[in-house]
């Protein structure tokens, strides 16, 4: 379980996160939604330690990230998998080398064992015969799958996804969403997905937090989101004609 308690973050004069408190349950796909510039990415970056929050705390299974020393932080980070918006694959490594990278760095696995793990991860994300390809030879969807495979190679307890389906066609986006959802349930991972894609919300949103202008404006699940009376949330969710029609019951 991940708990975010009273997080504040400013960049110069810009107060990006204002006293945000949230909790994310294991085995659930927790979604953080909000318009561009609302503070979603800053929140996720504070959670994984890429940004330091000005105040507040982040608890990973009751241990505070901020209070851990450098070594313990590193150990905790090895339990975190992250899927970046652009994949963030190492472009000088092949798919297989990308996935085995954390295994090389942190485990004593033999070559055979590593290869087995890599193939297992690739199979899990439905990607076969891609071991020797370089990231530049992959499509957007394939890149995201390889990034997921790399993220789960170390059997993480926590998985963070920053806009996992940005730049993908709707069909591939749904495939990636479902893959994240399945992996979360299968391995009982605490997954936090940062998105502004309403399709993702309706597909995989077990627990949804809506961030508006740096503040937590609403929290619930995908069934309650359409019936919410929160004005900011309604403006965000029903911005498109399609969702307006859904609301009207057309």
């Amino acid at each position: 379980m991940i708990e975010v308690k009273n997080i504040n973050k400013t960049f110069g004069e810009n107060h990006v996160l204002k006293d945000v408190s949230l909790s994310f349950m294991p085995g659930k796909t927790n979604l953080v939604i909000g318009a561009s510039g609302s503070g979603k990415t800053t929140l996720i970056k504070c959670m994984v330690g890429l940004h330091e929050a000005d105040s507040g705390s982040i608890l990973f299974d009751s241990s505070s990230f901020d209070e851990l020393d450098k070594k313990k932080r590193r150990e905790l980070r090895q339990q975190i998998g992250m899927l970046f918006q652009g994949g963030a694959l190492f472009d000088y490594l092949t798919v297989e080398q990308n996935i085995s990278f954390p295994l090389n760095m942190f485990t004593e696995m033999g070559e055979e064992e590593k290869k087995e793990r890599v193939n297992f991860c690739l199979k899990r994300v439905n990607l076969n015969n891609a071991n020797n390809l370089y990231p530049s030879e992959l499509s957007g969807g394939m890149m995201k799958r390889v990034a997921i495979a790399r993220a789960i190679s170390m059997k993480p307890k926590y998985l963070f996804c920053d806009e996992p389906n940005s730049g993908l066609d709707p069909q591939t986006a749904i495939l990636i969403d479902n893959l994240i959802h399945e992996i979360t349930q299968e391995y009982k991972i605490t997954t936090v997905v940062n998105t502004h894609d309403m399709n993702s919300v309706m597909e995989i949103g077990d627990n949804i937090a809506f961030i508006h202008k740096g503040q937590l404006a609403w929290q619930g699940d995908k069934d309650s989101i359409v019936s919410s009376n929160t004005k900011e949330l309604n403006d965000f969710v029903f911005a498109s004609k399609l969702f307006k029609k859904i609301k009207k019951g057309v």
Partner: protein, 247 residues
């Protein structure tokens, strides 16, 4: 001024992170070898070409200056050797490498930064500065002296070709000049300079790459800044070390 101090502080803090204990020594060692090939072996051709012509030009120009019957001809070979060892090979090659290797380091690391590959390393629990930069610095410091020694050799060969083929002096005279009054300390001085230059090029370029912010345009700017600053620092180090070691 304050910005400059801030930048210098950031550079020192980066170096602090760079020289921390590696997470996996085997992987780091492999990276050092890879970087030696990328930064060193792959620069051999350009170093060889530049050195060959540099040696030839130095010989021709020295030949023109020493066109006096009272000055022994073999001094052309001597002057060529001294110019190459003391200044042209270490400093000129360092400036060339600042352009070739420096820009490549800055743009490689800058691209890793803007495409979030550095963030990915950090999230995995890897000290990204150490993992990316340390092998580059070690590889440069270990390999650049070899490049400079090769440059000296090829430069003298270039001088020899120009001298003999151009009819400036005879082969025995040139060779006599090359071995005349040889001071091994000068080689030591050149190699010490090269080690400092190698450190400056690799660390300054890495610094500008590592702190790139923005997109593709920012990567280009980092690359340019790294070359400019590396060249300035090379010339500054050259002055200081020459003052300390030769005066």
């Amino acid at each position: 001024m304050i910005n400059g101090l801030k930048l210098f502080g950031l550079y020192l803090s980066m170096l602090g992170n760079v020289f921390s204990r590696p997470e996996n020594k085997k992987v780091y060692f492999r990276k050092v070898v890879d970087e030696m090939v990328n930064l060193g072996v792959n620069s051999l051709t350009i170093v060889a070409i530049i050195s060959l012509f540099m040696g030839a030009v130095v010989t021709i120009q020295t030949g023109l200056q020493l066109n006096n019957p009272f000055i022994p001809k073999y001094l052309i070979g001597y002057a060529t050797r001294e110019s190459l060892i003391l200044e042209f090979s270490p400093t000129m090659i360092a400036l060339i490498l600042a352009g070739k290797v420096g820009s490549s380091i800055a743009s490689e690391i800058g691209t890793m930064r803007v495409s979030e590959q550095i963030d990915a390393l950090e999230i995995m629990g890897i000290n990204s500065a150490a993992f990316i930069i340390q092998p580059k610095i070690i590889a440069s410091v270990l390999f650049f002296p070899f490049l400079v020694i090769i440059s000296m050799g090829i430069g003298m060969f270039g001088g020899f070709l120009a001298a003999t083929l151009g009819g400036i002096i005879s082969t025995p005279e040139f060779l006599q000049g090359l071995i005349y009054w040889f001071e091994p300390y000068y080689i030591f001085y050149a190699l010490v300079k090269t080690v400092f230059f190698a450190f400056a090029i690799s660390s300054i370029s890495s610094f500008f790459g590592y702190y790139t912010r923005g997109g593709a345009l920012a990567v280009g700017k980092s690359s340019t800044k790294s070359v400019v600053w590396s060249c300035i620092i090379i010339l500054f180090i050259n002055f200081i070390l020459t003052q300390l070691m030769l005066s």
